[in-house]
């Protein structure tokens, strides 16, 4: 169980290897890695700066991780989120869940990233040709998170 908020990059392969090292009960690991895109809303994005709320960010990520572990039988979980200035292609976020069986790992991973997007206090400032632009929260993200209002029903709806 680990939550890290950091400016620096991370190595997904090394993180996954470390997550399961020494375990003989984990049957599968599911991970999601989010990257910076070079386009947003049809406009080119040169870079973005991620601002966060130190202290609350860690608390919220830990609460989200604890919720996942309460809902699914997980052997190991990992949440890494970067802050500061990032360029297209850079990694922003990684979540990973390890469990004896794949269904719990897939569902918990999906839950973690959906909830993180609507609860962890991060804000993106995009650099566009027209200047800095704060990214607005997306309704789809709220809807994605709302699917998880009841435990374990992620895959029922399209």
């Amino acid at each position: 169980m680990a939550v890290r908020v950091q400016a620096g990059d991370f190595d997904p392969g090394a993180e996954l290897a470390a997550l399961t090292a020494g375990s003989r009960s984990i049957g599968g690991v599911v991970s999601f890695v989010g990257l910076v895109r070079d386009m947003a809303g049809g406009e080119p994005v040169g870079a973005m700066t991620l601002e966060h709320y130190p202290g609350m960010t860690e608390r919220q990520l830990e609460a989200i991780e604890a919720e996942a572990r309460a809902r699914w039988p997980l052997d190991a979980t990992l949440v890494i989120h970067r802050h500061g200035r990032l360029e297209p292609g850079d990694r922003i976020v990684m979540v990973a869940c390890a469990s004896a069986h794949r269904q719990a790992a897939f569902e918990a991973c999906w839950f973690l990233i959906d909830w993180l997007k609507t609860r962890a206090p991060f804000w993106k400032l995009e650099e566009t040709p027209a200047g800095g632009r704060w990214v607005e929260a997306k309704e789809q993200d709220d809807e994605a998170a709302a699917r998880w209002a009841q435990p374990g029903n992620a895959t029922k709806e399209g």
């Binding site: 991620l50 989120h81 993180l116």
Partner: protein, 83 residues
């Protein structure tokens, strides 16, 4: 009471953090925000549309009816956009 502002709220208000002593009749988040709006046009503009202003008291999300007290850390910020 320590106030924190993030993202475009910080940019519009012009500072990221301040310590204030609101009058005694400020008892909840809604009262605090109304009091802040009277402190200058930058506050009034930043807090004009509260449907896009989220609040955390002592690092936990709260509704506008949540009480605020001396010594609290109160953060105002837009809906989050991480991940």
């Amino acid at each position: 009471m320590r106030l924190l502002y993030f993202a475009w709220l910080r940019a519009r208000i012009g500072i990221g953090e301040e310590t204030v002593e609101p009058p005694a009749d400020v008892r909840d988040v809604a009262g605090l925000v109304e009091w802040l709006k009277g402190r200058g046009p930058n506050y009034a503009e930043a807090l004009a549309n509260l449907s896009v202003v989220k609040v955390a008291v002592n690092q936990e999300y709260v509704p506008y009816g949540h009480p605020v007290r001396a010594g609290d850390e109160v953060a105002l910020f837009p809906p989050v956009t991480g991940g």
